[in-house]
Symmetry: C2
Subunit: 327 residues, 2 copies
């Protein structure tokens, strides 16, 4: 229903990107998003080897002929392979869209651009948006304070950050953080974005591999059910639960990362996702969780987002009074 520079660039029908979520945006979910007209993203951080990443890319391609992306988040991952090796795997497999995130991508841009892939960078500060544009990114995703996972350290909300990012660069901007429905999509487009990134909303869909009890916890949560931890290190927004509270206590006491690691490790999250124990780990999710009331299929969700977006536009248009009623 929308045609923007981003839908054209990515070759997608709808300006909706399913944000990459470690362990969750696996082939089935990524392919379902692609088939529904959006862009899904495979996070390289999910895999224990380059071969597993390549297998997942191939599996995704078997499930859809439409475009999808691979994300390489440029923070240390404690894996026996480098960020460059992950990027090269995606390039070797001919993935059409590659996303870097979180740190300066300077060392990798040439390699990605030479491959012919569409290149996007995801970041949380306007200055990083400007840097990515200068380096040659085709588009940038910018996320606000309210987003799940890693909102950065500036605590600047989506409403302000997106408008500022749009002012700052000429390349198109995708907006993430606090957007869970068609109204949020139209709000982001109004600010000047040309697509949205939704993570939490695609956490609570049928095709997401998390246990049903985790998805039920998201449906039960409201807009105030998330909190930030690791704020002095690399802030993470997650569901409020006993682990989040405990990590917060440890942080306030000045605990080392080694002391907190057993509580916040990705493996602990994976185990909780699969077993359904929403209290046993950090469950990254954004404030947009307060707008989630059900567990639709990806296709149902995408139809609803587009339908709600259409209604939001009609509602705003109906508020515009004709010029001679001015004054």
């Amino acid at each position: 229903m929308f045609s923007t520079r981003i839908t054209k660039l990515l070759g997608i029908r709808h300006p909706v990107i399913c944000g990459c979520m470690q362990w969750l945006t696996r082939a089935e979910l990524v392919a379902a998003v692609a088939e529904a007209g959006g862009l899904g993203i495979i996070p390289a951080a999910t895999f224990d080897s380059i071969d597993e990443l390549k297998q997942e890319i191939r599996k995704t391609r078997q499930l859809t002929s439409k475009p999808f992306a691979v994300n390489v988040t440029l923070i240390p991952m404690g894996r026996p392979f480098s960020h460059a090796e992950m990027l090269m795997a995606a390039i070797d497999e001919g993935v059409p869209v590659i996303e870097t995130a979180a740190r300066d991508p300077q060392d990798y841009v040439d390699m990605i651009k030479a491959s012919g892939a569409v290149y996007l960078h995801k970041c949380a500060r306007v200055r990083d948006v400007v840097k990515a544009a200068k380096l040659g990114a085709d588009m940038v995703t910018v996320v606000g304070f309210e987003c799940g996972g890693h909102p950065g350290r500036q605590d600047v909300s989506t409403m302000v950050k997106v408008a500022r990012a749009v002012n700052a660069v000429d390349i198109p901007i995708a907006a993430g953080g606090g957007i869970s429905d068609g109204r949020g999509l139209v709000a982001a487009l109004s600010l000047g974005a040309e697509a949205v990134v939704m993570g939490t909303r695609f956490f609570a869909v049928r095709e997401c591999p998390a246990h049903d009890d985790i998805k039920a916890a998201l449906v039960s949560a409201d807009e105030a059910s998330t909190g930030l931890v690791l704020t002095t290190l690399e802030p993470v927004r997650a569901l409020r639960n006993q682990v989040l509270d405990r990590v917060g206590e440890l942080e306030n006491k000045g605990a080392s990362i080694a002391e907190m690691y057993p509580l916040v490790s990705g493996r602990r999250g994976l185990k909780a996702y699969m077993s359904g124990h929403a209290d046993d780990a950090l469950i990254p999710c954004g404030q947009g969780v307060g707008l989630i009331d059900d567990i639709p299929t990806v296709a149902e969700l995408m139809d609803r987002i587009m339908s709600d977006a259409g209604m939001a536009i009609e509602r705003v248009e109906a508020m515009v009074s004709v010029p001679n009623q001015r004054g």
Copy 2:
């Protein structure tokens, strides 16, 4: 240019409310906003006596025949008169719109409603929006985490909170926090709001009585130039400066409010506003300060907001592809 339930209820041309700011939204600014087609609000908290409040209301009425409001924020103010006396003064003077804020307004609703004034309540939690609607408020203003002054304690952003508030009640919602231009107005309307509240943007206008050097500090600030203090008490978002840093340090050490009071008092703020020393006090302002680049008149600003809003709608409409282009 827009007609919504709120423009009709308040009798204003544009769905733009200038948020009340202690010391700043005086008669001249409030009247300028009214003359430009929005709603200005006189904060009762600016005055040392009921008589001064009444004089200000009369002065405003001399400057404009259009509607304006009086705000009574229901937190202890350390003044020798009560919240009820302030409300009664506004009622006695026939102020057409009365706003309560911050605390449960239950004890005052009958009195306000009986006066025939339009009654609005301003709050920062969805549960308070619901309560205000039940009590009989004609509309509610809800402010997000990014707003200047008092964003509440839930840290929920405008993008999420406004959508949730619209879902929760049938009365119209005005949205505040992070909105400084016409794009933000259209974004808020897209979420389902029927007006916006802008505080910080109207701080940096010609008619605002603050010293030019304070306004220059707002123009210099970017979206990350604000911080929250008094988070365990009643959070305040203000410009990052030496006073904000010092209060933050005292808070972290567990200082009492008595120890912090000399730094955060309203009188200290008033003195800084008037002398132009932006480093000498807490200067409440929201993240939307990052979108402010000049000091227009209120009339110029309102024209620009409406013009930018029109362009934002056109831009979104241009993104909508015709049905037979759907994929």
